[in-house]
Amino acid sequence: MRRAAFLALGFLAALPARAETLSFPVLVPLTGFLSLEGTSQRNGAVLALTEAAAKTEVIDTGTSPEAAVTALERAAGNGNVGAVAASMLGTQMLAMLPLAAELKLPLVTVSGTASITEQGNPWVFRFFPGDAVTKTAHARYVVEELGRKRPALIYQTTAYGQSGKAHLEPAFKALGAELVFEEGVDPAAKDLLPVLTKALAAKPDVLVLHLHSGPTALLLKQAAASGVTLPIVAGSAMHQPSTAALLEPVELKGVCAETAASPISGGSPGMDAFTASYRAAFGKEPDAFALGQYDGMRMVLAAVRDGATTADDIRKALAGGSHAGLAMTYKSDGKGNMAHSAVIVCYDGTSRVPALVKRYDDVAGVVK
C-alpha cells in the first residue's frame, strides 16, 4: 500500500509542465451540499471551454476550504494555467484567495458571497452579481414594485443564506421597510411549517426567502398547503429549473425570484443557443450560475484570443476590459465585481418556466 503511494505520488510529481498551451482548470464542488450549484458551474465552464477547444481539467473541491486549497495547488502544478473557474462556495473562495495571489492565478467565480471581493485581492473576478446587487434588487422589487412594507425573511444558516440576510436587512431599511420577522433555518430541516407559522404570526405583507433549492421548494409547498396568499419573493435558488421541477406549476403561482438571469426564459438568440447547446451537452436545464460561469470563461477566452499569453495578461484584461455576455455586460468595478445587473422573474402558475418581469441595471447596492 505504501509503495503504491510513492509510485502514485512520484508519478504525479514527474508530470512535465507544458508551457505551450494555457489550461483552465475547473475547481468546483461536485460533492456535498453545494453539488447542485457546483455542477451548474462546472457545466457552464466546461461548455465555454469545449466550444473553444481549450485545455481543462475538472477537480472536485467538496465543501471544505482545505480541499479547495489543495485542488488549487494541484491545478497550479499541472501545466500552464491561464485562469481558474473557482468554487461558488464563499468559504472556499476565501481560502483560495491568498494562494491565488501567491501563485498569480485569476479566479473566475459566480459566488455571491460579499466578502470575497472585499479582501483587496486583485485576482478574484465575480461573474454573478454579488449579494450587494441582488439583494438590493430583491428588496427594491418587494418595496417599489409590490408596494410591500412589512417583509418577513426566512434564510438558510449557510454562507449563502447568512450573506444574503446581512444584505437584505440594510437594503430594506434603506427603502423604509423594516423586517417584521427574520429567522435562519438549517438546510437539513425537514418540516418548515414551524418557521412559516412564526413568520405569518408577525403579520407580514410579503414573504422574502433566501434558501437553497430543496428548502425553497419545501417552503413553497408548505405555504401552498397552508393556503398562504401573500406574495413570495424568493432568492436566486428559486430560478434554478431543478427547484421548479419539485413543484406543481400551480404551487408556483405568484412566486417571484431574484436572479442574475434565467436562461430558460429566453430573451435573445444567443441565450436560446446557449440553452440549446447546454441541454444537448448535459441533458439538463441551465441556470444563472451556469450562464455566469459560461460568460466568465468566455471573457477569459476572449482575452486569450486578443493576445493574452499569461495568467497576468488575463487578469489585466478582466480587470480593465468589458465583455458583452449573454446575461449582461460585465465590467470590473475595481474590486473584481464584474456583474452589476439583476433581474426578477415570476411564475404564472401554468408553467415551470418563469417570465422576466423586472431588470435592474448598474445597481450600486447597499454596501454592508
Binding site: M1, R2, A5, F6, A8, L9, G10, L12, A13, L30, T31, E57, V58, I59, D60, T63, S64, P65, E66, V69, T70, A71, E73, R74, A76, G77, G90, T91, L94, A95, L97, P98, L99, E102, T113, S115, Q119, T157, T158, A159, G161, Q162, S163, G184
Partner: protein, 571 residues
C-alpha cells in the same frame, strides 16, 4: 531466531517507508504533494489522541472532531480578529479544548459505550451550532478569512516544504509522546480499562480518572491538529466542526491500527492520499475511494499495523527477572469486619443483615446453596455493589460504599468466578496489570508480576497468551494476579472449580502458605471436601441470611444447613 529476524524486518519496513517519505518530500514532491502530506500530518496528529482515548481506552468519543474544531477556532478567531501570532494562539488552541474536555469528561465519562458516544456527539453538535449561529464571533457559516501563517521566532514559515516540515516535526514530537504514553503505565492501564473495567477497578485502578486523563490528552492532540489545520488553510469555517472530520479521524485510527501511533500515521497518509489519486475521475472518484476503503478494511481488519505484524511477527520480549514486591501493611487481629450488610435488587433481598469478621492469618469459608447471596456479599465487600445498609471496615478504616479501587488500594484483593483474564495479553502482562496502581513503571510491575507467577508455580508460563492457558493454569495466574497486590484481605470466588484432585491439593497448600504469611482469606466454595479441611471458620448463607457460623466441624451436623442444601428449604 526467525521471529526476531522478521520482527526486525517489520521495523526495517517502517523505517524504510519513513525514509522514502522524507526523501520524496525533500527531493521530489511538488507543492501540491507537500500540501497533501501536510494535511496528512495534521490528521495524524489528531488521530494520535484518538488512539489513546479510543484505541487504548476503548471510549468511542465523537467529540475528537469537536476538539479539533475548537483548536481551529481559537487560532482562527485570535489570529484573524486580533492579529495574535502563533506563539500565543498555539498554546491557547491546546488549552481551550483541554479546559472544555475536563468538565465535559467529568459529566459524561461515566456513561457506557454508545451513551458516551451520543453525549460526546451532542457536545460536538452544540459547538457546531454555535459556530454557525454566532456570526459576530465566528463569522458564521462563512467563517473567518485572513488567518495569519505560522511565525516562529520572527520567521514567517512559508507554505510548501517548511510548513510540511513544521507539521511533521510536530507529528514526530506528538508521536513520540503518544508512543511513550501508550507503551507506559497509562497505555497498559487504559487497555485493561477497555477490556474489563470491573477487573481494572478491583485491581486498584481509578477507572474514572484514567478515562478523564485519556480524554484530556486526546483533546490536547486534537487542539494542536486543529490549530495547524487552520494555519495551512488560512481560513476557519464550521466545516472543521462537522461530522465528516470526526469520521475521518475514526477511520484513520481503525484503518491504521487501533491503539498504535504508527497506525495513526499510516492511516492518515493513506486516507488523505487515497482520494487524491482518484480525483481525476471527477464525480466517480469517491466511489473508487469508498471501494478502496472497503477493500482495505476487509484485507486488513486489524489495521495496517496489524497487517504488518501478521506479515512480520514480532519476537516476544524477554521475561524479566523476579523481584519481590514490598509487602503490604502488616496488621494483626481483625483485617476486615462487616456488620449488618444488606442489599436488595428490585425487592429481592440478595443479602440481609450479614455480619462477619476476617482475622489476619486465617481462612474463612463462605458456603451456601446457589443464589444464597455469596457472590453478592463478595461484590458488596469489594465495592462492585453499594450496600443498602451495614458497614464495612477494612484495616481499621470505615470504607462502606467506597469504590472498588479505593478498597483495593486499602489492601483488598479478589478473584472472579469466571477467571477474568484478558485474552489478548500474556500471563505476565495480565499479572503486571495488578501492579499498575502501585508501581512506578512498567518494568517494576513486570518483575513483581514475575515474582507472583513464580510464587504460584506458573513462572514458566509468563510469556504465554492467556487465551492458550489450560483451566488450572488460568486459576493460578488469576491467583498470582491477586497475590501480586500483596493484599491484607483476599476474597476468592470458587477458586477450585474445574480442578482435579491433585490440583486442588496443590491449591490448598498454596492458600495455607498465604494465610501463614498473615493474609486474611475468604473462600467461596461448593466443594466441601476441599473447603472444610482448609478453613478455620465457616459461614453459611441461605437466601441472603446467615444460617450458620462456626467451626467447619459443625457444618455437616447443623440441621438448618443440611435442610438448605437438600433443597427442602425452611420447614
Amino acid at each position: 531466531m526467525r521471529a526476531s529476524l522478521s520482527g526486525r524486518l517489520a521495523d526495517a519496513v517502517l523505517a524504510l517507508a519513513a525514509l522514502a517519505l522524507l526523501v520524496h518530500a525533500v527531493g521530489f514532491a511538488s507543492p501540491y504533494g507537500l500540501r497533501v502530506l501536510t494535511v496528512a500530518g495534521v490528521y495524524a496528529l489528531a488521530a494520535f489522541g484518538f488512539q489513546i482515548l479510543f484505541g487504548l481506552g476503548g471510549a468511542l468519543s465523537l467529540a475528537q472532531g469537536a476538539f479539533f474544531g475548537l483548536g481551529a477556532y481559537v487560532t482562527g478567531i485570535l489570529g484573524s480578529r486580533y492579529g495574535l501570532g502563533f506563539s500565543v494562539t498555539f498554546p491557547l488552541s491546546l488549552l481551550v479544548p483541554l479546559l472544555v474536555a475536563l468538565p465535559v469528561g467529568l459529566a459524561v465519562l461515566r456513561l457506557e459505550s454508545h451513551y458516551f458516544a451520543l453525549a460526546t456527539l451532542g457536545i460536538a453538535q452544540v459547538l457546531h451550532l454555535l459556530a454557525v449561529n454566532a456570526p459576530e464571533l465566528t463569522g458564521g457559516a462563512n467563517g473567518l478569512p485572513g488567518v495569519p501563517g505560522v511565525v516562529l521566532f520572527g520567521w514567517a514559515v512559508p507554505r510548501g516544504l517548511p510548513m510540511a516540515a513544521l507539521v511533521w516535526s510536530m507529528v514526530a514530537v506528538g508521536g513520540a509522546v503518544g508512543w511513550g504514553l501508550a507503551r507506559g503505565r497509562l497505555g497498559r492501564a487504559l487497555t485493561l480499562v477497555r477490556d474489563d473495567p470491573m477487573a481494572a477497578s478491583t485491581l486498584g485502578l481509578d477507572v474514572g480518572r484514567l478515562r478523564l486523563t485519556a480524554f484530556a490528552v486526546s483533546a490536547l492532540f486534537a487542539g494542536a491538529a486543529g490549530a495547524l489545520a487552520v494555519h495551512t488553510q488560512r481560513v476557519v469555517s464550521p466545516e472543521v466542526l462537522e461530522f465528516p472530520v470526526m469520521v475521518s479521524i475514526l477511520t484513520i485510527a481503525v484503518v491504521g491500527g487501533r491503539g498504535r501511533m504508527a497506525g495513526a500515521v499510516l492511516g492518515a497518509v493513506l486516507l488523505v492520499h487515497l482520494p487524491e489519486w482518484f480525483r481525476a475521475l471527477e464525480r466517480s472518484y469517491l466511489i473508487v475511494y469508498g471501494a478502496a476503503l472497503l477493500l482495505t478494511i476487509l484485507l486488513a481488519p486489524d489495521g495496517l499495523t496489524g497487517l504488518l505484524e501478521r506479515l512480520f511477527p514480532r519476537r516476544a520480549r524477554p521475561v524479566p527477572d523476579a523481584t519481590e514486591p514490598p509487602p503490604g501493611r502488616k496488621r494483626d487481629g481483625e483485617a476486615l469486619s462487616v456488620e449488618g450488610l444488606s442489599k436488595a435488587f428490585g425487592g429481592v433481598h440478595a443479602v440481609q443483615g450479614v455480619s462477619l469478621t476476617l482475622r489476619a492469618g486465617t481462612i474463612t469459608g463462605l458456603i451456601g446453596p446457589n443464589g444464597s447471596g455469596k457472590t453478592t456479599l463478595i461484590n458488596l465487600i469489594s465495592g462492585l455493589e453499594r450496600p443498602d445498609a451495614g458497614t464495612v471496615w477494612l484495616a481499621g478504616q470505615a470504607l462502606t460504599g467506597a469504590r472498588p479501587d479505593r478498597l483495593a488500594r486499602a489492601g483488598l484483593a479478589r478473584s472472579f468466578q469466571a477467571a477474568a483474564l484478558p485474552d489478548g495479553s500474556t500471563a505476565l502482562e495480565a499479572v503486571a496489570a495488578a501492579r499498575l496502581a502501585s508501581d512506578r513503571d512498567l518494568a517494576a510491575a513486570e518483575s513483581h508480576a514475575r515474582w507472583a507467577l513464580d510464587r504460584m508455580g506458573v513462572g514458566e508460563l509468563a510469556a504465554r497468551p492467556c487465551r492458550d492457558l489450560p483451566a488450572a493454569s488460568r486459576r493460578r495466574v488469576e491467583l498470582a494476579r491477586a497475590l501480586a497486590r500483596r493484599p491484607a484481605v483476599l476474597l476468592l470466588d470458587e477458586p477450585a472449580a474445574g480442578l482435579t484432585d491433585s490440583e486442588k491439593a496443590d491449591l490448598a497448600a498454596r492458600l495455607r502458605a498465604l494465610a501463614a504469611e498473615g493474609v486474611a482469606l475468604l473462600v467461596v466454595e461448593h466443594d466441601m471436601g476441599f473447603l472444610l479441611p482448609l478453613a478455620g471458620w465457616v459461614v453459611c448463607l441461605d437466601r441472603g441470611r446467615t444460617l450458620y457460623e462456626g467451626p467447619p466441624e459443625g457444618v455437616r451436623s447443623d440441621a438448618a444447613v443440611v435442610a438448605a442444601y437438600l433443597g427442602g428449604g425452611a420447614p
